[in-house]
Amino acid sequence: MKRSAKGKKENKEKKPYLKPEVKQVALRPEEAVLGFCKTTVVAGPLSSACATLACLSNGS
């Protein structure tokens, strides 16, 4: 009787199982959106000029 009562108490204290879910993700927006030139490629019709001007849009 004693054990059973203890078991009931433990059951009451246990939290219900919850399936793991992704709620927050550590993004690096400047990489994820493909908005910037890659280190070895420069975008645009004046790509050589971009390189010469040390273009600030280098990305991942």
């Binding site: 959106v33 493909l34 004046l46 273009c55």
Partner: protein, 293 residues
């Protein structure tokens, strides 16, 4: 140097056909994309490029701003990517219009921004990569920031990480070994086919300039982390999905696509073992990875 009036490119089993209606446009692929040229076949995506004049007018509803080279607009069911360059200011140098499923694309290159007598590659980065990532987002495929390695034992390893995580370092360690094939040191596309997950090399390489148009059946995923010594820790599924998502290139403005990507990663981690790999840049980490059963 070969100049094309019609060009076929295949990346991750997606074939793009690039043509031009402008008689004076000389289409010429550049860089690693040349490795991905294929013989003419039925395309998944048709791309038509023309010379024209672009203004700074608005292009419909602005639904996404990359904060960099491109902005996305929606107009009468079509998607319009508008490209600007820091060197040219606000004046767009290129505009690409896509059908809803991203299977048809029309590119208008601003003739005042280019030298029309010179060859061009209308899908020049980042448009080629955007085309693939958007096309795949509705068709069981996702591009991830990762290095892909095929080893002689049949293992196909994906080393995932954002910039600076060590993808190129891992690629260079494996490059020293014989019978190892590297698919890419920076961008890998994952697709599910016949209930298996495949990883594909892409033209968008990193500093090691590895871009191989081949594929392998994915066997293990490693999330890279620099450390003083080497170590492997198995990851739970939710953590693995979260880390995969943080290293992919989703169309953030498209709820359905984001949901597809999360569901796709959920399926991937159910069948593929995932680990956090802490490593110091020497050959011992290769032995540690290959020693996993």
């Amino acid at each position: 140097m070969s100049i094309h009036s019609s060009l076929f490119i295949r990346v991750a089993d997606v074939t793009l056909r690039i043509t031009t209606d402008s008689p004076h446009m000389k289409v010429q692929p550049e860089g690693a994309i040349k490795e991905f040229i294929v013989f003419p076949t039925k395309p998944d995506v048709t791309v038509q490029a023309v010379w024209g004049k672009l203004s700074e007018r608005t292009w419909g509803k602005n639904i996404f701003d990359s904060g960099g080279l491109w902005q996305l607009y929606q107009e009468r069911g079509s998607y319009l990517f508008c490209f600007t360059s820091p060197t040219l200011g606000a004046h767009p140098y290129k505009m690409a219009s896509f059908s809803k499923k991203f299977s048809q694309c029309k590119i208008l290159l601003d003739c005042s921004s280019f030298r029309p007598e010179k060859p061009v590659y209308p899908l020049e980065y980042p448009l080629d990569e955007l085309t693939l990532t958007h096309f795949l987002a509705t068709r069981e495929g996702v591009e991830v920031h990762a290095c892909g390695v095929l080893v002689p034992s049949g293992g196909a390893y994906l080393f995932v990480g954002q910039s600076g995580a060590g993808k190129t370092t891992m690629a260079r360690l494996y490059q020293k070994l014989s019978q190892v094939k590297l698919l890419s040191d920076d961008r890998i596309i994952l697709r599910r086919k016949n209930n298996r997950v495949w990883m594909y090399g892409t033209p968008w390489h990193g500093e090691a300039e590895i871009a191989c148009p081949e594929k392998g059946r994915l066997t293990k995923i490693f999330f890279l982390r620099h450390g003083e010594k080497n170590g492997l820790v198995p990851l739970g599924k939710a953590e693995a999905v979260s880390r995969l998502f943080s290293s992919c290139f989703p169309p953030f403005y498209d709820r359905q696509a984001v949901e597809f990507i999360l569901a796709f990663f959920d399926e991937v981690v159910k069948t593929i073992p995932c680990y956090e790999l802490t490593f110091s840049p020497d050959e011992r980490v290769v032995a540690l990875v290959d020693g996993l059963t």
